[in-house]
Symmetry: C2
Subunit: 248 residues, 2 copies
DNA sequence: TGCAATTAATCAGTCGTTTGATTAATTCAA
DNA sequence: TTGAATTAATCAAACGACTGATTAATTGCA
């Protein structure tokens, strides 16, 4: 948890009541959560500008004015959605990290251990981004935010993207015997992530060309195999005893 | 040219005058082209819904009503932008293909020739998508359209994406000795394209993490090196006996 | 003159936001 | 335990601003 960014230092949106430290399931917060989920769904599928506050309120089964009351406005709801996604994705990533047997902060794993962890994590990422129906609205939301630089993106970057990327880079470095913060490693990690994300972004096109009706288990297995193989090749290339020559 | 989709069979947008076969620089078409370029720029940078017709007209230095007159409306301008992009990207891709010494339709190149063509093409794609300032609005426009399935996307897919993907797959198949339309090859090509596209989509994040101020020549060279190495590894993996080039 | 192109002005509709009223829940002196 | 006072939350309704689209009048070239 040492690399996790502090998520408490983001100011509450104007007009929002003080954060309740007590139970959040009290039913009073139901409207708040419902609006966030509706915003997440609509912002992710149609985009921020294309989603009207009326449709959000209708989807959340709430009154239009509740958006202004709880979040100060549409932009405040956007930020609240980002915060919701940030905390949630971090949990998912932590679970994936645990599944991949990420090294603890204290003991350094062997290169083989690190390599196995990277490969397992890559497969988990594919399934988490493409397969898990519950996280899809969040992934789509983040993808939209990535394309539109905004204060919301800053928050997601600092609280999720940057610490996760650093962590994977560290592991990547251990697996290849290189400095995890070297340019080559940072770039290789982005290239791998890009492969996975694009399968989500260009979903409609890929399904069409692959003649798939959706990302079922077989499709995800095929994609995961492709990605993992590519990661493996990238690890080999950066390792001192790799089989192919260095790139120019 | 046998694989090139016919770009003439797309219906003209309602209200648009018949396509001029003669000179398009005649000054009469200046407004039309100016509107398309303004739409391309705004749709690509802010999104379709976030771009108002008034801002488009102002950017194009034209009257608001000219959008309706020339394209039938905002949606018509969107389609016209897509057509403009389709024809333009096809030219660029053809140039890149020529640069990569794409095989002609009649003679089958050797696996080594095909391999070299794929690698050269990959590098050209990186530079065309990330480096060329003139094509950036078009790339951004296509990326936005890809995220929002629409009739416009259908046109771009059929006229550009599908034929180009098939062509690369064919070459990829020749380089690896596999069927270019096999699932493995089609998937590998999408994975490679995804790497490149993500470097554009997540530009702001990548620049931040890489500590770059922009995609200058050094950055693009680094990205191209990463992508080409990944493509090389993918080709090796799909080839029956590894990299040794035996003729089949 | 004839017609394609452009212009200013206006249309009905939707946008995000705000209002004042109303209900539900909580507080606190008596 | 009462009952009035306060607060939190929701509601229908409306606000001004802006949306895309359309009109009728005007321009300018052939």
């Amino acid at each position: 948890m040492t690399t996790m960014a502090n998520m408490e230092d983001h100011p509450a949106p104007p007009g929002a009541p003080a954060e309740r430290a007590g139970p959040a399931e009290s039913g009073v917060e139901a409207t708040r959560l419902s609006l966030i989920e509706a915003g997440l769904k609509l912002f992710g599928s149609k985009g921020f500008e294309a989603s009207s506050t009326r449709e959000i309120a209708r989807t959340a089964d709430a009154n239009i004015a509740s958006i202004g009351y709880h979040f100060g406005g549409k932009e405040g709801l956007r930020l609240a959605c980002a915060q919701h996604v940030a905390s949630h994705i971090w949990k998912i990533a932590s679970a994936a990290a645990a599944l991949a047997r990420f090294p603890q902060d204290d003991n350094s794993p062997s290169p083989d251990q690190a390599r196995a962890a990277v490969l397992t994590f890559a497969g988990a990422m594919v399934r988490g981004i493409l397969g898990d129906e519950r996280t899809l609205p969040m992934i789509d939301f983040v993808i939209r935010e990535i394309a539109n630089p905004s204060p919301t993106l800053d928050m997601v970057y600092r609280s999720v993207i940057d610490p996760m990327h650093r962590r994977v880079c560290g592991l990547w470095g251990l697996a290849t015997g290189r400095d995890g913060e070297s340019e080559a490693v940072r770039l290789a990690v982005f290239a791998a992530i890009g492969q996975i994300m694009y399968f989500r972004i260009a979903r409609e096109i890929i399904l069409r060309r692959m003649d798939w009706s959706g990302y079922d288990e077989a499709a995800i297995a095929a994609i995961a195999g492709e990605v993992v193989a590519c990661v493996e090749a990238s690890l080999d290339r950066l390792s001192p005893g790799g089989r192919t020559g260095e790139a120019s």
